[in-house]
């Protein structure tokens, strides 16, 4: 058993940098500090910059009625987190934060939505101005394409990237699709360890 574990560890050590290179990511030389924002999480509790401080976070922006991109991104992030849990101790695992930018449709279902992917996921939303404030800090973009008051099936154009926020509450990197779980986990593992020459 010990030999098997050693071989697995050795394999990960050798293969991880190579796999991580498959990930499309941009690491910021100077992390971009997020400003204050006042949002609410899926449990109805306030969620502010303080909730991003003290741990790594992966923040993805989307909307709950997105049938295609958002579910697969969140499912992949759950798989990334699962893979990463084999590489880092629990206290260093990043929290997954879903910034729901369509509050009228998102707020009523946000708790069920994030729990659908993983109970540890955090969904946040709030007033449009506060959503825009955080999105701006993340260098993300979104636009609700509601054509009329009775249009209830509108699309939301939004950034595809996931922001990697460091424990100081600053954006350290952005990763873009595909979010291949193993490669992305290796990429994040190296990033969390400060090995930034991975692009």
């Amino acid at each position: 058993m010990a030999i098997r574990s050693f071989c697995l560890a050795l394999t990960l050590l050798v293969a991880a940098p190579a796999l991580a290179q498959d990930v499309k990511g941009v690491i910021l030389d100077e992390p971009s500090q997020l400003g204050d924002f006042q949002l609410t999480d899926h449990r109805g509790e306030p969620f502010t910059l303080e909730d991003l401080v003290g741990q790594w976070s992966l923040v993805f922006l989307g909307f709950t009625h997105c049938p295609d991109v958002c579910p697969f991104t969140l499912a992949n992030l759950e798989a990334v987190r699962s893979q990463l849990s084999m590489l880092v101790p629990p206290e260093r695992l990043p929290q997954i934060v879903f910034l729901a930018v369509d509050p009228a449709r998102d707020r009523p279902v946000l708790a069920d939505y994030v729990a659908h992917f993983d109970l540890s996921f955090i969904g946040i939303t709030g007033e449009p101005g506060e959503i825009a404030r955080l999105a701006h800090g993340l260098d993300a973009y979104y636009r609700l394409e509601k054509k009329s008051d009775d249009d209830d099936a509108y699309d939301v154009v939004h950034s595809a990237a996931v922001a990697v926020v460091n424990p100081a509450g600053a954006v350290k990197a952005k990763i873009t699709p595909p979010f291949h779980p193993q490669g992305t986990a290796n990429y994040l593992h190296l990033l969390l360890r400060g090995m930034e020459g991975i692009n």
Partner: protein
């Protein structure tokens, strides 16, 4: 809930092999005639719905084994208000869905509806669809015919190798 691999495989094989059922198998109001047998749907599935969210995506491969072009103009599913063909694109870091008014599948070719690319989007679902193990779908064609099939419902699991790789190829 994850369906066993063999269940999914058998369902996929069955869908691709069995003769097309007449459109009247599902009560959607007017019933266009069903299409000729060379047109097949394979590997139809839909990610399990999220409580409270009334949109669903359906993925499949449509094979036109006939001798004439096949023009899809829409789709419907009982209990949903609308079915629209959408194409997801990711360009300049932004992802968006664009409605596809009609889609032509040339004879001898197929169209792949798959995650983060072409998909059928159903909207206006009732609560009964959250727990269904299959979704009945009917594709509508420009020549007045239609094709009915059942899409298996299971997780949009990031650890499903095929789905992950398909999800990994947004058009840009």
């Amino acid at each position: 809930m994850k369906l066993p691999f063999w269940t999914i495989l058998m369902a996929a094989l069955t869908a691709s092999a069995m003769p097309l059922r007449p459109a009247a198998a599902h009560d959607h109001g007017a019933h266009p005639a069903s299409v000729a047998a060379p047109v097949k749907v394979r590997q139809a599935w839909s990610p399990r719905g999220v409580p409270g969210v009334d949109t669903r995506a359906v993925y499949f491969e449509l094979v036109n084994g006939g001798t004439a072009p096949l023009v899809i103009i829409g789709a419907e599913s009982p209990g949903f208000r609308r079915g629209v063909i959408h194409e997801t694109t990711t360009a300049s870091g932004l992802t968006r869905m664009t409605p596809v008014e009609q889609l032509t599948v040339p004879p001898g070719q197929s169209a792949s509806f798959r995650p983060q690319e072409l998909h059928l989007m159903l909207t206006g679902a009732g609560p009964e669809h959250q727990e269904n193990k299959t979704l009945p779908v009917r594709l509508l064609f420009a020549d007045g015919t239609s094709l009915s099939f059942e899409a298996l419902v299971h997780e949009a699991d990031g650890q499903h190798e095929n789905h992950r790789h398909r999800a990994a190829m947004p058009k840009s």
